[in-house]
Amino acid sequence: MKLPILPTQEIGSFKKPNYLIEVYKQWLRGEEVSDKLVKAIKTASIETIRLMEQSGLDIVWDGEMHRWEMYYHPVKYIDGIDFVGEVRIFDNKYFIKGSVVKPPKLLKNYHLEEYLFVKEHANKPVKLPVTGPYTLADWSFNEYYLKKWLNIEGDPMKARRKSKEELVFTIAKEIINPILKEIAKHNVFRIQIDEPAATTHPDEMDIFVEAFNKAVDGVDATITSHICYSDYTLLLDYINDLKTTQLALEFANRDTWNRGVDDESRRGYAFLKDLVEYSYKGEVGLGVVDVHTDRMEPVDLIVDRINYALKYIPAEKLFINPDCGLRTRSREIGKQKLVNMVEATKIVRKSLGIDT
């Protein structure tokens, strides 16, 4: 499938419609609503695919309507990780966190049905987001392996590292790799490995990279990746080892709202210079709208952000996206952010002499 220059895409999640949230809540409370839930998911999925298409995106997904959220959904299908309660992410936003109590084992390919459903209903190329092994491990309490390694190692730091390594690699090999291999058989356009935890532990970058590569090993598909809200410079020493076609990163959140393409106005995008310095040759997914605020980025600000990026990244390697999934915004605001993003991209394409 041929994409235009500066392809626009979303990252993954999108706000669920209220009717779907209500059924999910009933389901989470253990009420028997399976049929109702499946029906609501399908309706919301199609609605969201259409919303993405109507926003003008070149690559679409269904906003993860098939998943309660990116951690809960996979863990639900992994034996060995038990949910233990809600833990804060920020403010009053919480996620239901799991604890690893025995070696993780895959119960079911939890992405296959949703991928086939979205593919069937989408009129544009589809990108499947998959929570990566490092993030799944990092967001879980590592009870089983930590206990094992604390008994072997006296040094708590060594024990923590060893236990993390064993957990991450197990998830990469036993959970993620088989899922991806099976999906790759169904002519998938792109698979995006979501690793928001990737650049959060400076001493574990080697573990992250090795796990990522194990997870995608032998997978016959285009693999991209998404990382956000962390210190990307930690990745630099490994940037060309990671088996990914694209790095889609959050930038807008750390940027100013001043207009211009100077370094200070665009200080949130400083990492692009590092990518050049480290000879990164892959694609960059450029986060141009902040998903944590209702404040609407004007089109001209987004244009400036894209033009700044073009100083460092060739147009044929640049993709345009929000910082992260838009699930924390309302559907109306989320859509408007996408529309502005697409509009700004069209303006830049035109300035490059490309007819959109």
Partner: protein
């Protein structure tokens, strides 16, 4: 006698989380919301009392992060959501927009001392000056140093005057970063020297073994060591006035064995010269679900032997 206390923010219980969701949606009124927060704060105080902790920490259950209340001061605004060290937890980066003046009594609106029974020794945590400096955005270093000193001096003064026993300055940056700007650290702590007898430094998220001499040399009354990073058994020949060992891991559901911890403490006391010793969680219990925070407090109770 081994002292026990907790540090930082305590997790919200499910009732409060749900109440807050309703508050965010505008479906409860101000009185209902405040009553709910007070009720939850009372519960956290009662839990600490039931656990026989030596000091009772303010619950801080209404703090979104350790900096947030201060962003209500003029010229200090909450900036972008930013990852808090290596956690899947985010804070609003404080943005300094000029010189910040502390407003007398400001911090007292953000604590729950009125809920404490009389005769209780309350304690409180505040962001340490170095962590405040490192985790905020400021264009002018000197103005930031002056502002942070203004804020912390004012807050500590208010709290001590209000009867708080000591202030735990949360300094993950000091433990976490490998390269520390020691001149800056010393300058920041020298600003707080009038309150040195009331200040303890809570170090966490890093191994402080390589910098222990520097940290011990700071003008404070005590310090803590994160036992989930620093190999406690390797600390020897050191002299501590007041030391807290963070041996209860706030970032795992794995439950510690009280007798193993008591042995570690005995061993530590044998190898070092110690004034008073405490055992604490290594960091805020907010990294755990509420029910697991309670389990960790049970361990503290068992260590204390009550």
């Amino acid at each position: 006698m081994i002292e026990t206390y907790i540090t930082g923010i305590f997790p919200r219980n499910n009732e409060l989380i749900n109440l807050w969701r309703k508050w965010d949606k505008g479906s409860v009124n101000k009185d209902e919301f405040h009553q709910g927060v007070e009720k939850a704060a009372e519960e956290v105080i009662r839990i600490q009392l039931d656990s026989c902790l030596t000091y009772i920490h303010d619950p801080l259950i209404d703090w979104h992060d350790i900096f947030r209340p201060f962003t209500n001061l003029p010229n200090l605004t909450p900036g972008p959501l930013t990852r808090f060290f290596e956690n899947n937890t985010f804070y609003r980066k404080p943005i300094f927009e000029g010189n910040i003046k502390y407003i007398d009594g400001f911090i007292l609106d953000y604590v729950h001392k009125d809920l404490l029974p009389s005769g209780i020794k309350p304690i409180m945590s505040l962001p340490g000056p170095y962590t405040f400096f490192k985790l905020s955005y400021h264009k002018d270093k000197n103005t930031a140093i002056e502002s942070i000193s203004n804020i912390l001096l004012g807050a500590i003064r208010d709290l001590i005057k209000d009867g708080y026993e000591f202030i735990n300055l949360l300094e993950p940056a000091l433990a976490y970063y490998k390269d520390i700007e020691w001149d800056l650290v010393e300058k920041l702590y020298s600003q707080l020297i009038d309150f040195r007898d009331y200040i303890r430094i809570h170090n966490y998220f890093g191994d402080i073994l390589p910098k222990i001499d520097k940290i011990i040399g700071l003008p404070v009354n005590g310090l803590s060591i994160d036992g989930t990073y620093t190999y406690i058994s390797k600390l020897a020949g050191l002299k501590f006035n007041k030391v807290a060992l963070g041996l209860i891991d706030s970032r795992t559901t794995l439950l510690e064995d009280p007798s193993t911890i008591i042995d570690l403490i005995k061993n530590f006391k044998e190898k070092n010269k110690v004034g008073s010793i405490a055992v604490t969680p290594n960091t805020d219990l907010d990294y755990l679900p509420f029910e697991y925070a309670l389990k960790k407090l049970t361990i503290l109770r068992d260590i204390r032997g009550c």
